[in-house]
């Protein structure tokens, strides 16, 4: 059974752009390995002769026409959810030097 290492947890944390303390790393190492072990039960299923799929609901082609839709969420309301807005733009930590 594959297991995550401490380095894997640190790499995931970096990709998710979150900082973890030493304790948190140890904590997540245990938790994530438990999750992984749970999901790995799937590996023991016999999939001989079963076609690979991305979907379990057997849907295809769920589409809409190319028409404007008013969903009833005005932009001004959406912008209210943000911590910082300047001139109707979302204000974030500077991305470039």
């Amino acid at each position: 059974m594959a297991r995550l290492s401490k380095d894997d947890v640190l790499r995931l944390a970096h990709l998710a752009r979150i900082e973890l303390s030493e304790e948190e790393v140890s904590e997540f190492l245990i938790e994530l390995n438990e999750v992984l072990a749970y999901v790995q039960q799937l590996q023991s299923s016999d999939t001989e002769g079963i076609r690979e799929t991305n979907q379990v609901n057997a849907l295809t082609n769920v589409m809409r026409d190319d028409q404007l839709i008013d969903y009833g969420y005005p932009p001004s309301e959406l912008l209210k959810n943000l911590p910082a807005v300047l001139d109707d733009q979302i204000q974030v930590k500077r991305m470039v030097e």
Binding site: Q55, N57, T60, V62, R64, D66, I69, P75, Q89, K93
Partner: protein, 484 residues
């Protein structure tokens, strides 16, 4: 550039699809003049629980793109999530197509220096664009506008089969023409409707070298310059015994060079996974057949048409680039009409390329001007010797801009002082005056000094505020002085 290295270039191009709404939401897709964060909703905003729903028109345009690239689209394709964190990507992932894209294969053919070149297409996939960020100077923050978030893109990836900056430019231009003529995109390069990423590597043998990727080029010229710069930069490095680093670079237009950007995450860092919100796309072969039957004419068709009108290659290319039939201006009909009426087609092309098309570029509403009568009247005035070439351009511009001017063209031209005085009796009186007050010059002309004629005509032009027809004036001057 050192000739000992062989450059190899591959190009990825993001084509913005010509839809009314976004790829997975019903928000408007024209962010060009919209105020920041007005073309947004809970889906583009990435709110938890929002359900993206695929835009049918994007499938239609992807099929057109496939056919324009000379290949059938994939009947089955899927959507995936590509995860990375950046402030302009509200969902924390981009919806794209990873291992089962809508297009596999195809080709782009172009002619460079009389030689037919073919570049194979690896794949093309549908994906949603990110938002737009800006970085006000001397501030500690950046600003994000999500109007573009969710804009439908088709990313077209070529095989690394180009070997010079000129080939890269020619490929980019041909791909642009194909996508515009197929109606896949509006092709507004200024507003980033097509953005090119160029991968350049150098090799001394059969093995490809380490490549750099220069991203977000939005003109053919920038593609050519960035490739030329990278070839030079990399060969200088190799000449000095250093190695090329695999990295992402950006083109700095002001400095005319590429600059290193943030290091990119590896493919497995993106943690691609099938998007559970989006069922696979299955295209009905009958629908492909329908789209094929409705395909607009592609550049190769128009090249044949234009060459049958006797246009030069460069004239044809300029006309093609400006858009022959995908605007409503219907330049082709106009050209055909001129040809069938036995009128001067080359003159018309000259006006289209130098006046009409540049004007339409600055104001797209001028597409709707009624051209057929306009150009016939203009050519009538030119052939009667009543318009100088400068004034012809001015008159065409005025008539395209104002339907009033176009309605009564000859009168308008006269009122605006654009007509030349070719009427000999009126002109002769003015020339008599000029000769009377320039005796020395008249003597010189009589003595056979043709230079002096130019001086006298200059005086005539000044006296008529440039409205005299210089050729007619010249004949009159010669006649009057010979008679003396």
């Amino acid at each position: 550039m050192s000739a000992k290295y062989r450059p190899t270039i591959g190009i990825e191009c993001h084509v913005q699809l010509r839809t009314k709404t976004k790829l997975f939401s019903g928000a408007g897709n024209d962010a060009r003049t919209a105020k920041p964060n007005t073309l947004i909703n809970h889906i583009d905003f990435g709110l938890p629980g929002a359900l993206p729903v695929f835009n049918r028109e994007a499938m239609h345009l992807a099929i057109r793109a496939a056919l324009a690239l000379g290949v059938e689209p994939q009947l089955f394709s899927t959507f995936d999530r590509k995860h990375y964190f950046y402030p302009d990507l509200p969902m924390g992932y981009q919806i794209t197509q990873y291992d089962q894209p809508v297009i596999l294969g195809g080709k782009v053919e172009y002619i460079l220096n009389g030689e037919l070149k073919t570049v194979a297409i690896t794949r093309a996939h549908l994906e949603a664009d990110a938002g737009k960020s800006s970085h006000p100077s001397a501030k500690a923050y950046s600003l994000v506008d999500l109007n573009r978030a969710g804009t439908p893109l088709l990313e077209i990836v070529s095989e690394p089969q180009m070997h010079s900056a000129a080939e890269a430019r020619a490929y980019a231009k041909e791909l642009y023409l194909l996508m515009c003529y197929a109606g896949v995109t509006d092709g507004d390069l200024y507003h980033g409707n097509m953005r090119f990423d160029v991968n350049v590597s150098l090799s001394e043998n059969d093995q490809l070298g380490v490549r750099s990727e220069t991203k977000n080029l939005n003109s053919f010229r920038a593609v050519e310059k960035a490739v030329a710069y990278e070839i030079k930069r990399q060969s200088d490095l190799l000449d000095r015994g250093q190695s090329v680093v695999q990295e992402t670079r950006g083109w700095n237009e002001a400095k005319q060079k590429t600059l290193s950007q943030r290091s990119k995450e590896n493919a497995d860092d993106y943690r691609y996974m099938p998007d559970p919100d989006l069922p696979p796309l299955e295209i009905d072969p009958a629908f492909i057949k329908k789209v094929r039957s409705e395909m607009p004419n592609l550049p190769s068709f128009w090249r044949n048409e234009l060459s049958s009108l006797g246009l030069s290659l460069s004239q044809s290319e300029i006309l093609l680039e400006a858009g022959i039939d995908f605007t409503n201006a219907n330049y082709m009909d106009l050209l055909l009409d001129f040809k069938h009426s036995g009128l001067n087609t080359k003159m018309l092309v000259n006006w289209l390329v130098n006046v009409d098309i540049p004007l339409v570029r600055t104001d797209s509403s001028l597409i709707n001007a009624n051209r057929r009568e306009l150009y016939k009247e203009v050519i009538g005035l030119v052939e009667a010797g009543k318009l100088s070439s400068t004034n012809t351009k001015e008159l065409i511009a005025a008539a395209l801009k104002s339907s009033e001017a176009a309605k009564d063209l000859a009168n308008y031209a006269s009122r605006a002082g654009l007509l030349q005085q070719s009427d000999s009796s009126e002109l002769e009186a003015i020339i008599q005056e000029v000769l009377a007050s320039n005796e020395a010059a008249v003597k010189d002309v009589a003595a056979g000094q043709d230079k002096a004629i130019g001086f006298l005509i200059g005086q005539v032009m000044a006296k008529t505020s440039g409205r005299a027809n210089p050729e007619v004036a010249r004949q009159i001057v010669k006649r009057l002085i010979k008679q003396d």
